[in-house]
């Protein structure tokens, strides 16, 4: 079970005065159960990239294979693919439309062809997973707070039980507490159900603490691809393209440059703390 992108390129508005090359010869392999963060500046092609993965956008050239099958094949069931590769868009709460939260979450499973009973069960499970407060199950989605709306919207995708879950900027517009809760939730889902998660973000801090692999997009192609500590080692280059490494990276590099024998590759606050304690605690 894997997703393979083979020389994928995509150009917006072909043939008009406004051609934009959004993806430029992207080759990627995404294995089952990975937790990936895709980072890039606005316009680097990260959102375009992930929309290819469930067939919402068709590549101008190149192919994508899901579990070994070419998703651009004429008889490939792309509707089925979309239920396998779930996608939570930016500001997903803007897509809520039903009269109650519960009905809205049921929309996806119903489209999958499940009967009402099964759909209800799926919706219930999904809402439990995102820790949506039970007393609001029958509330109108338009009356909820921002964080709750987002949970409801994410539940709407999870209810389809995708094998791969893509989240495009799931924390945009949330306060720090809401952000940590959503990201924690995603981590928990990954650890418990073993699904592949692809997290699109422009915030290094968000991603560094949660993901196992980072893909940095720049001008429509991956610039770096690797474990967070490997990627952040290039923090100078990251800065050049308008991204910043997590603040601890700077701190650790500064300490290292001052002659303290810390490991400059610590990426999370916890790791940095351990390192600093190790070096300074000995004194």
């Amino acid at each position: 079970m894997s997703l393979i992108l083979d020389h994928v390129s995509y150009t917006y508005s072909v043939g008009s005065g406004y051609e934009v090359k959004a993806l430029n010869d992207v080759n990627l392999k995404i294995e089952d159960g990975e937790f990936i963060g895709i980072i890039g500046h606005t316009g680097s092609g990260k959102s375009t990239l992930v929309q290819h993965l469930n067939g919402l956008i068709q590549a101008t050239s190149g192919t994508i294979y899901y579990n070994g099958a070419d998703i651009y094949d004429k008889d490939y069931d792309r509707k089925e693919l979309r239920t396998q590769v779930g996608m939570v868009f930016q500001y997903p709460e803007h897509q809520l439309f039903e009269t109650t939260v519960f009905e809205d979450v049921k929309y996806g499973p119903k489209n999958q062809g499940l009967d009402d009973k099964q759909a209800t069960l799926r919706a219930f499970e999904a809402l439990q997973k995102v820790k949506f407060p039970e007393e609001n199950y029958d509330a109108s989605p338009f009356e909820l707070s921002g964080g709750q709306k987002r949970r409801a919207a994410i539940a709407g995708v999870i209810a389809m039980k995708p094998a791969v879950l893509i989240l495009d900027e799931p924390t945009a517009g949330l306060d720090p507490k809401g952000r940590d809760e959503i990201l924690g939730l995603i981590r928990e889902m990954h650890d418990k159900s073993g699904i592949t998660i692809i997290l699109v973000s422009h915030s290094m801090e968000d991603v560094a603490n949660y993901v196992d692999r980072i893909i940095v997009m720049e001008k429509g192609a991956p610039l770096f691809d690797g474990a967070p500590r490997e990627v952040f080692a290039n923090y100078k280059k990251l800065e050049e393209i308008g991204l910043a490494a997590p603040q601890v990276t700077y701190l650790m590099h500064d300490l290292y440059d001052q002659g303290y024998p810390v490991d400059p590759q610590a990426t999370t606050v916890e790791e940095a703390k351990q390192e600093i304690l190790r070096v300074f605690g000995n004194r």
Binding site: R82, H94, Q95, L96, G108, N111
Partner: protein, 266 residues
Amino acid sequence: MLKDITLGQYYPVDSVVHRLDPRVKLFGTLMYVICLFVADHVAGFALMTVVLATVIFLSKVPFSYMVRGLKAIVLLLVIAGAFNLFLTPGEAAFTLWKISVSWAGIKSALLMVFRMTYLIIGTSIMTLTTTPNQLTDGLEKSLRLLNYIHVPVHEIAMMMSIALRFIPILIEETDKIMKAQMARGADFEKKGLVNKAKAMVPLLVPLFVSAFRRANDLALAMEARCYHGGEGRTKMKPLHYRRIDAVAYVAILFVFAASIAVAILY
């Protein structure tokens, strides 16, 4: 997908026509339309063809772009042409089975098709070379006089520019919501009217909600910046006539006079 829809269809190149003051272009288009309806002789057509060709050449917009607008009215052209052709009474030119076609019919059908085609191409030159914002600015300034009879010119222009500004935003929003619902298994290509209408609900409800939310935000933002209508308001890019605009006015009036002269002479 939906992003390919162009409304207001501005074609971004730098040309003499693009740089003209929008008021000149509005006036020119108006004169052009009048000329088109004055012309009813080959000589008049020839004059308009020369004028149109010159402007198209000067605008640097590919000809294929202009013709694109015609696609939408092909059916209308055919029907209008046919009605004029067959239903105009007069001396029969030839008879097909029971239907006779008169000389007058042929003439009026040709006139009709010619006028409509030139009308579409001519007016699309204006929209292709003028951004919607320039256009509303130009309209606002040209119609200033109407203020004296209490027509809220500024408010109308403001509504127009907001509406125009929102078109691409709403198209983008539609595209986004459509994709989001498709990711949840929605099928917008269902067969049957009832099914189609049902499939639209998950698209239209969020779209309306978002349109109202945006309108609300915009109103708030405008009020926060003390917007209170057109009185005493200055422009970021005020319209100023330049030399080239004067030249264009003279050219327009010259063409207008010429076409009147042609109409009188022939």
